[in-house]
């Protein structure tokens, strides 16, 4: 009951003019970012974090919540109209959304997408509000050994589940592990891989890395004209039609649960949630042949699931410091910039901010529906923005933004360097997300292990002495066995995608 009082206490803070305006602006920008192919929620938040430095923490977080939710929906606009997913999470929306648009039902597809996205976000935010506080209380019971296994679990899921090509996924994760080693070793105070550069002693700031990896490559792509869009194909002239919205309720329920569960598991993102939900919808349908050919339920399942993933990824991030995906990692960075450290203390000392943030995730889900409705036509025009204008804008904002983190030109250079690496990685289709998660999870695993061994004075049995450790070890076992089991029994593998 204490939790409900805390939530109620945060309500007035969320409905101040300042925070509300920030949420509206964030959501509006988020949808636009999502709609632009190549730009993702991660990039949008990373670029805009420095803008939020001067704001109060809750205002900043409200804006971030808006961008996060908005971008997840925005990705469906080009997915439906142009067959190009605006964000990776929009991929499953293409399957049924684009055929619908070709049948002249583009407007209905967009409406379904918007409604499903809002409902997914709402469910996810409720899950966050209900699950995070109890988990935060349990988090106090997590000792160094448990944190070690938690980080190992995160690293395992990255390695096993994240990439279609495990070798490329591992390569990216190893890059992240190496970057994570830079800086002063917390346990013995010795500098590692700093090359006598004082700026590196504190390690690579997560915002510097994220901005480099996520904002620069799309900007280069835009500048090269790679993401140019043929504006003449944009057509949402479809006539309004009657639609039995109630028929989507079971779809929404199922997809929301899938999205939330996927969100909580580290390393799985909205794209996985959307694909799984779409597959499940097709598998369980009476007439599965309609899917992939313009079934409204397919759009609803995909969009609802990728939005249900949003707030859920924040559950492990806020309570344990383990981000569910790259967006959650940037949000962790934003929290740190505002002096908020994830963990149980966040829920006591900064309860109003953290509950306020969760509420903004809930409120922006609703705002998204209103803004998406009012601005439907406008957002289609966002797709016509000349890329020659966008690329320099993004580069300028990232440079100013990264400079303002520590007033350091060195970090700007570092960010641009990471940008080039990120661009090269994308060219070789090496995923960047494993690198980002490894930067956070690698040092966490190392420090926790060394701390555990210090406490136990070298006794390895300490690592398996708590029930939490055993639960995590079991999860690690399941994560490793799953792909093997799937390979051995191909008949239960997920149905093929179109």
């Amino acid at each position: 009951m204490v939790v409900f009082n805390e939530i109620l206490a945060a309500v007035p803070l969320v409905f101040t003019v300042e925070v509300f305006v920030a949420m509206i602006v964030g959501t509006a920008i988020g949808i636009a970012i999502g709609a632009l192919p190549g730009l993702s929620a991660t990039m949008g938040i990373a670029v805009l974090i420095p803008v939020t430095f001067s704001m109060s923490p809750l205002t900043a977080l409200g804006m971030i919540a808006g961008i996060y939710n908005g971008a997840m929906y925005g990705g469906s606009i080009p997915a439906i109209l142009l067959r190009i997913p605006g964000t990776p999470a929009g991929i499953a929306t293409v399957f049924d959304g684009y055929p619908m648009a070709q049948q002249g039902r583009a407007r209905l597809a967009l409406d379904i997408s918007l409604a499903s996205s809002s409902i997914g976000s709402l469910c996810s935010a409720v899950a966050l509000l209900l699950l995070a506080p109890p988990l935060a209380m349990v988090a106090l019971k997590f000792g160094p050994a448990d944190y070690f296994w938690l980080a190992v679990f995160g690293l395992t899921t990255i390695a096993v589940l994240m990439s279609g090509s495990p070798v490329k996924g591992l390569l990216s994760a190893c890059f992240g592990l190496v970057v994570g080693m830079i800086g002063i070793d917390v346990i013995n105070g010795q500098p590692r891989f700093t090359f006598d550069i004082p700026e590196l002693r504190g390690g690579v700031h997560i915002i510097v890395l994220l901005t480099g990896l996520y904002a620069i490559p799309p900007a280069i792509d835009l500048a090269l004209g790679k993401l140019a869009i043929d504006g003449s194909k944009l057509n949402i002239s479809g006539k309004p039609e009657k639609f039995a919205w109630a028929s989507l309720i079971p779809v929404w329920m199922k997809s929301s649960v899938i999205g939330i569960v996927i969100g909580i598991i580290p390393a799985l993102g909205g794209n996985v949630a959307a694909l799984l939900a779409w597959n499940e919808q097709q598998r369980s349908a009476k007439d599965s042949s309609r899917y992939g050919k313009g079934a409204p339920e397919g759009v609803a399942a995909a969009e609802c699931a990728n939005n249900a993933d949003t707030a859920a990824t924040l559950i492990p991030a806020l309570t344990l410091g383990v981000p569910g995906n790259a967006v959650a990692a940037v949000i962790l960075g934003a929290l740190l910039v505002h002096g908020l450290r994830p963990g149980p203390e966040l829920f006591t000392a900064n309860s109003q901010i953290v509950y306020g943030f969760m509420l903004t995730m809930l409120v922006t889900a609703g705002l998204m529906f209103v803004i998406g409705r009012l601005g439907a036509r406008l957002y289609v025009h966002v797709l016509r923005l000349p890329s020659a204008l966008l690329a320099p804008m993004i580069i300028c904002m990232t440079v100013i933004g990264v400079y303002s983190v520590h007033n350091s030109m060195f970090e700007v250079g570092l960010m641009l360097g990471f940008g080039c690496i990120g661009f090269a990685m994308e060219r070789m289709s090496i995923p960047t997300a494993p690198a980002v998660l490894a930067v956070i999870l690698g040092p966490m695993a190392e420090e926790a292990l060394r701390r555990a061994l210090l406490i136990s004075r070298g006794d390895l049995f300490y690592l398996v002495s708590s029930p939490i450790s055993w639960v995590l070890l079991t999860l690690i076992g399941i994560a490793i066995v799953t792909p093997v089991w799937r390979r051995l029994r191909p008949q239960v593998a997920s149905p093929s995608q179109p």
């Binding site: 000792g143 160094p144 917390v186 701390r451």
Partner: protein
Amino acid sequence: MKTIMSLIAGVAVSVLAVTPVWADYPERPIKMIVAYSAGGGTDIAARTLSQYIEKYLGGTIVVENKAGAGGEIGFGALANADPDGYTIGFINSPNVLTIPIERETSYTLDDLAPVANVIYDPGAFSVRADSEIETLADLVEFAKKNPGEVTYGTTGVGSDDHLAALAFQRQAGIEMTHIPFKGNVDVRAAVLGGHVMLASMNVSQTIADHREGTMRLFGQMSNKRWDGADEIPTFKEQGFDIIMGSDRGMAAPAGIDPAVLAKLSDAVGKAMADPEFLAKAKAQNLPITFMSAEEFAAHLVKLNASYQKLWDENPWSGAK
């Protein structure tokens, strides 16, 4: 050619620099370097205080954050700035002293001219409320019976918390196991969760938990009890002569005109006596302690000697 030109320029500048009437100081905005990120504890304290220094100094102060490497980047920038009185900064002990002891740096204590001390946050020991340890004597007794069994959490290798615990171990003749964490939030969680026995954490960070009854604070390392925690006995009262903690004071680059230094120090003193500032400091739970330029300089020299001695006997950082 270039050298000659710069020589001429240098001479010209120094001639110009000698002439100003210091009575007019400050004639332009003063830059205040804070070696930690915006929004952090030092930054908030600096920004709060700077408004009141402006009031008594009669000029504007612009805070500039130069964070990184535990403060080294900001301290180095301050020490190597032009000592014209227009660059001042916050220095935090023990970092400002221990970093040059631990490694090669772009500055030493001699490159800094202390202006005044602002904050002294005494170190303190605390345990979870259900622990059997209630006094320092209990702790020493337990540690003597079980050498190495007492685990203590700190905010890192070479932090004031760590050095304080090292000094205590030496004085009490006991052995404890150091568990470094990244911040006081983590130390607190580890002690509350029962993973680490003892927290070596500043008194201002622990007093709230003590009063809530979740943790027991049983000693603060100050000369006399801090007003904000006057129910907590000092280490001295319990028979251990340990005065350690973290200072946040102000300094200018060495070589600053003594008249300017005096003017600055005086303004800081007046600002810290301003009732409005005192009210704000209380609201932010800042343990403020003013020291004049001479007192602060003497204090830093003494601290530096004790850290150097600790290091020479047994370096606290480095691979073991």
